[in-house]
Amino acid sequence: MAVDEMGSNCSSSGAQELHVLAVDDSLVDRKVIERLLKISCCKVTAVESGSRALQYLGLDGERSSVEFDELKVNLIMTDYSMPGMTGFELLKKIKGSSRLREIPVVIMSSENVLARIDRCLEEGAEEFLVKPVKLSDVERLRDFILRGEDKNKTEITRKRKTHDDSFSPPSASSPSSHKCDHPLSPISVSAVPHQRLPKRPKLMLATN
């Protein structure tokens, strides 16, 4: 069965394991997304709210940046409609943080509302997935993020070797550099345009 192959692939492929932070107030959805991610060879941390997510990411000021690096999160997947802080509000807080803004954020929602999708993408969301999320969505996301991470590492290595002046450090980047066109860090800009996830197909596939 296909799933068994996927399971053994996790250990044998030697590929980097992404650490995904999943945020959803629904117990059922957390269980499902956790399973989807584990099958896709990702490490998962699932939390029930935006505030818990910020706590985990150290944005509430309690965790030192050293600790954060050890638990590096490669991707955040958050539900849109949550009590307290919505996924959109969480997205804004993450993109508003100089330390966290590089982390790709994906919004999940059972409601296929164009204005909502646009708003999220404008605010810097990587992708907007319509629930229920499928295995193919997660695998596609994982592959995209992995490619980005690889490019990041290559570029950083190249920068260190050549001391190229044309590469500017990311710290001075303006908010506009985090629109849909540049989903990953400025260092990997050259690699990105060909690899953008298609953001609209979900609209056509979703049923109501």
């Binding site: 068994d4 399971g7 059922v28 269980k31 499902v32 399973r35 409609s81 059972s110 109501n208």
Partner: protein, 145 residues
């Protein structure tokens, strides 16, 4: 027995109780997680008690707070959708339409339907999983009880 099990499952789909999402969940099952679907469904039924109670309580209020009703139902519909509970989801959608129209009677009427479909599916899935456990892998079926 495996054939009977397959037939049971097929009829759940044919009669429209379950949709594609249930199959998606089944594909997440393997030797390391052989009961994943049943676990998710069990979690759904346990968690839904609270969600349904929220809606009941909100429907008892006078005047009705449609925004709150819609919000509660959104949560319940989401979970139902996650396990592939098709008929339940359809009734939930209808309920939300009535919320948006501010139609209290429509909401109350539809909520009875929601609960009916929810209970029907629960019975059918319980029977299905129980049968699945009995049918099991071929070796298990041969072992003396």
């Amino acid at each position: 027995m495996q054939r009977q099990l397959a037939n049971m499952k097929q009829s759940l789909f044919d009669q429209g109780y379950l949709d594609e999402q249930f199959i998606q969940l089944e594909e997440l099952q393997d030797d390391t997680n052989p009961n994943f679907v049943e676990e998710v469904v069990t979690l759904y039924y346990r968690d839904s008690v609270r969600l349904i109670q929220n809606i009941e309580n909100a429907l008892d209020k006078n005047p009705l707070d449609f925004a709150k009703l819609d919000s509660h139902m959104h949560q319940f519909k989401g979970s139902s959708s996650s396990i592939g509970a098709r008929k339940v989801k359809i009734e939930c959608t209808q309920f939300r339409e009535y919320c948006r129209a501010g139609n209290g009677e429509g909401c109350k009427r539809t909520f009875q339907q929601v609960k009916k479909e929810y209970a029907t599916l629960k019975k059918k899935l319980e029977a299905y999983f129980q049968f699945a456990r009995q049918a099991g892998p071929v070796e298990k079926a041969c072992r003396p009880k």
